[in-house]
Amino acid sequence: MMGPNNMLEIKRLNRTKIWEWVVLSLMLASPFLFAERAMMINEIAITALFAISLDLILGYSGIVSLGHAAFFGWGVYAAGIFSKLVNPDPIVGLIVVMGSSLVLGLICSLTILRGSDLTRLMVTLGVSLIGLELANQLRDLTGGADGLQGVVMAPIFGVFEFDLSAKVASIYSVLICVLVLVFVRRLVRSPFGFGLVAIRDNSLRARAVGLNVSHRLMVIYAISASLAGLSGALLAQTTGFASLDVFSFDRSADVMLMLVIGGVGWLYGGVLGAAVFKLIQSQLSSITPQYWMFWIGLFLVILVLTGRDRIKEWFAGVSA
């Protein structure tokens, strides 16, 4: 039972803060403010979306997944192939990919209901590796190791054509990223979202107060998969290319790292993490392209040793 104080608390939480408006409008303005870096903005928006989708299961529901790239990769290839063979309209493509990843996520969610963290880790990793194998072997459809080439998109709504400078692409991705952010914000602050947090903190008690744990986990996993697929689709549509590395372990690890940099279980963590990660990556890899991996590794180790709640705490004053 929720007392009146809790209800007030929830209402207070649900009110959109001023700084949130600022962040969202900054995001929307970014393609125009940094028009010459449109490529970068596009990439950040896509990875931010991917990170948000992971946060839904990792941060809000406590499912440690090492294979979220499975859905991302599915989105990339599904969007690419769909536009090539069926219909080049980007919006239709997005809807189809989201629907199909939702179904895929629902099926895969059956695999994460049982077992310990290790089992989940293995199963999610296994699913993404199966995706990698399939994309590699179904050469006729996916282009195998050469990647899927020649994806040409129709203009959005038949008006806005994707151009080489990625201006339209970046506006398109950022807009969708913001829409998703608003949706996810609503989702995690609904009774459903609070239920997820309860399950994450103590699934036994959550069950005892009458939450249907399996059902909720399945739903959130499917939603998360569909958002990951959406971000993959954006990548395929805006770059017109798909390669095998979208399924790779590195990609799952990278997105987890971004989320951890930004803060797990915090709505804007994914966005912040993706922006920081991509900017550092572009800086560092221009200095030492090969050994970028070393610095991520070192960063991770230090981050965990010092406690990864620190970064979140810096923002705690703001987000509270």
């Binding site: 695999t111 089992t119 293995m122 590796l129 372990f249 991996m293 070393f294 965990v304 040793l305 990864r308």
Partner: protein
Amino acid sequence: MLTLLFDGVAYGMLLFVLSVGLSVTLGLMNFINLAHGAFAMMGGYCMVYLFSHLQVPFLICLPVVFVLIALLGAFMERVLYRRMYNKSHLDQVLFSIGLSFMSVATMDYFVGSSQQTLVLPEWLQGRHEWGQDPWTLGVGNYRLFIVLLCAVLTMILQTGLSKTRFGSQLRASVDDPTVASGLGIPVNKIFLLTFAVGSGLAGLGGALGAEILSIEPMFPLKYMIYFLIVVAVGGTSSITGPLYASMLLGVADVFGKYYIPQFGGFIVYVLMIVILLWRPQGLFTKGVKR
């Protein structure tokens, strides 16, 4: 047919040596160490360096590599890993991914990304064949050597864990560290030693596998999944579970790659997922815990 089976068994034995250390840290100490492959890779590099460059005899190389990697493991445990035991699984995963990334880049920096090759001494080269055509058993000397060595190692480990004082102290420390230390068991030392032996075994596995698995900087990430499969499928409560699991994996992998090369990896992953869904605690565990 029989040759394939034997190769599979040898491969499985190798996987067992590589991953038994992980099954100890993961199962007994409940620590998800994704950087286990890094120790194996270090072992492989040490082996190549000692044997090919310094010309140390093969049979001396193996124990030397074991000791070196065990020392490295002990050092890492003391400095880094010990702080991680009580953290959440997510932290452990991040931490060990970080370590493996670092090891990959470091080896790339010092040795280069090319694959290291190991030329075996003459007495381990060559192979014998027995039997008629459909049932020919071809046994490579080196694979036979691996199988024998691993069998001996398994027996030592099994007795070590179940019969000796150290083994019972370890099991006690894992069940309840607080009570164990209350009874005067030096829990930290036991964990340190266990971790060292585990990583030493990984190093030994890397050294033995240098000829078969190909040692390169990406090794830790490439084989991580295999180690994890062995541990997850074999369960973590015994030595024999991972042993059977690695045999199964080795044979499945070799057969899969031989008969349906396009889908070799695919079969292994599907098999793993199915097994884990069916028995989330591992295939070879008695009863269901937790």
